[in-house]
Symmetry: C2
Subunit: 352 residues, 2 copies
């Protein structure tokens, strides 16, 4: 059996769970490599993937005998089959944060499970700690992101629209990686004051401030980087804000290490921003992996100790409504005694 399924079976044993229903496609991909619609069942004796005719051929092309996964076409499963899957299971787990209330009720009815139990993100928690292969994929995605950013700095010319720049980034990522890991953000001028701006037809002008938030995928794993930079010169009004954001981004990088609390990290930046009359309006960072946003989330609401081989972003930002915003973001690997910055593009004033 593949090591991730074996890990899950051991975990289930320790939790007195005899079966589990995995519905979240990201968790299914993590455990099995299958990137197709369907449901993964771990019953007492078998690993079963239920899919439909559209995906049967594709799924068979991914799996090997070694995976020990039986593939079923959903049209071939009878009412009795469903009731037999978990026949002698006392406790069967399900993903209560992914499964809708309606599906929960459907599970109880269809599988006739005695005790359908919440699994409290067991797979997501394991996914927070990346293994060597996962880190290699993320590093590759980060390297491609640095290269794409270098390329785009040379590519941008006044009169180009935000949309055109975003398209070039997307094109680059389609050519060099598995496409983008989220919708590319290119914001210029006053549009930078919105943390989640979508690219518009606004044209780049002299003395503009530009924020680009970009990332790609390699083997399904994401990168995430933001830079704020300038056309021609750095406006005087922006300098103190940029310096404050950068100072906090570098300070956070120095604080990142195994054991430090996500809440303390976030509070330190928030306090420094407030001392200067600004606010930290979004999370300081988030985990990066198969999903662009995944646990751990680094903000005032969470209090999780970072752990070795978590991969997280470090992205303080300040936004002044109607005027401008500054965000600087890197993807970072946590280590025992510090961290390794995986995106390495310039962070001092960049002027194009």
């Amino acid at each position: 059996m593949n090591p991730k399924l074996q890990w899950l079976r051991n975990k289930m044993n320790s939790l007195d769970m005899q079966g589990i229903i995995i519905s979240n496609p990201v968790n299914i991909f993590y455990l099995t490599g299958i990137d197709a619609e369907g449901t993964l069942l771990l019953t007492r004796k078998e690993n079963i993937f239920i899919t439909d005719a559209r995906y049967i051929e594709h799924v068979h092309s991914i799996l090997t005998l070694y995976d020990e996964i039986i593939v079923y076409d959903i049209r071939d499963i009878s009412k009795d089959d469903y009731e037999n899957f978990f026949l002698f299971c006392e406790n069967v787990g399900f993903e209560e944060y992914y499964v809708s209330y309606a599906n929960y009720k459907e599970f109880v009815r269809k599988y006739r499970i005695n005790n359908l139990v919440e699994t409290e993100h067991i797979i997501e928690k394991q996914r927070m700690i990346k293994d060597d292969d996962e880190i290699k994929s993320i590093i590759k995605a980060c390297n491609i992101t640095d290269a794409c950013f270098s390329h785009i700095l040379k590519y941008i010319k006044p009169q180009m629209t935000e949309k055109q720049i975003a398209e070039e980034i997307d094109r680059y990522y389609n050519e060099h990686a598995e496409g983008t890991s989220f919708e590319t953000i290119v914001a210029s001028g006053e549009n930078t004051s919105m943390p989640h701006a979508t690219p518009t037809d606004r044209k780049i002008q002299e003395k503009d401030i530009i924020t680009i938030d970009m990332g790609c995928k390699v083997n399904g794993y994401c990168s995430d980087m933001t830079r704020t930079f300038f056309v021609g010169e750095v406006p005087e009004a922006v300098k103190p804000v940029y310096d404050l954001v950068l100072k906090n981004q570098i300070q956070t990088m120095q604080d990142f290490k195994d054991g430090i609390s996500t809440r303390i990290l976030s509070k330190m930046v928030e306090n420094d921003f407030r001392l200067n009359g600004y606010d930290l309006v979004h999370s300081l960072g988030h985990g990066v992996g198969l999903e662009i946003h995944e646990p751990p989330f680094i903000n005032y609401k969470t209090d999780i100790p970072l752990k070795e081989n978590m991969v997280v972003t470090n992205e303080p930002g300040i936004y002044i409504p109607g005027k401008f915003g500054v965000r600087i973001e890197d993807t970072v690997q946590i280590t025992k005694f510090g961290c390794i910055n995986l995106t390495n593009s310039e962070k001092n004033y960049i002027i194009i």
Copy 2:
């Protein structure tokens, strides 16, 4: 108040519901035009949108006084506020197909609701019937899709990869619309045998069969069209399959009208395919609107009468594993006595 919120309030009255929690962002956009993360609450007297600092500015730029929606920053809401929102509500609805089991439990705890009731897709059911503005947007998206297909037929040259063709479609849609409505499918040669193929580095060759499934968005509304076509000539082995798919696509178009059952439509195509030794492996069609796949679904499992001003796809397909596949798909508006085909690209043998 905007007419869609007014409709929902009337519907709530008729269902003896004094409040409702809307979490699905597509439903929030449908009802309010807000395209931001957050939760919409309709309480006894107020319409409330709870979001966070990232979106406050953007949301205020969308809403007018006429909308009668109060916007809250989630950080300003206290425990007591949550408990007061639905204080005198007996029954409060929630979207049981969208809300996770964990969130359902959180709602009960946080809002202290006496009776949190399932709403059985009330908004999705209303969304199935499109109003004039919605149909106009879909028609525009369909026209752009026809134009994009004409463009791409001229664009494709032997030795191009599937990925290159998909990128050109995406670029076209980014330029002429709000981008794609789903991940463009370009499959060639034996790759066409997978209904949900993703574009690969396979190069287009002489005598290839090519399937392209494409669509874009206008004002948030989707189009969806598939054509299967040929390089140089139509292989003899493909002709009978193509003819059978096209015959059923045209027959379905003639059967589409107010009142006909989705199950009967699907069964008729399935029967004809089986008579000829093939199978209908995916749905015959699906609703199209703010989502690329939305109710009604046209397959053997559903039994819904089509209604005037539903917009659905008509997409029979036959797939021969390891060899080739043929799918022909249009986006169609149902009328009282028939239907209007909104995508009008050629369906007879297309040879490039």
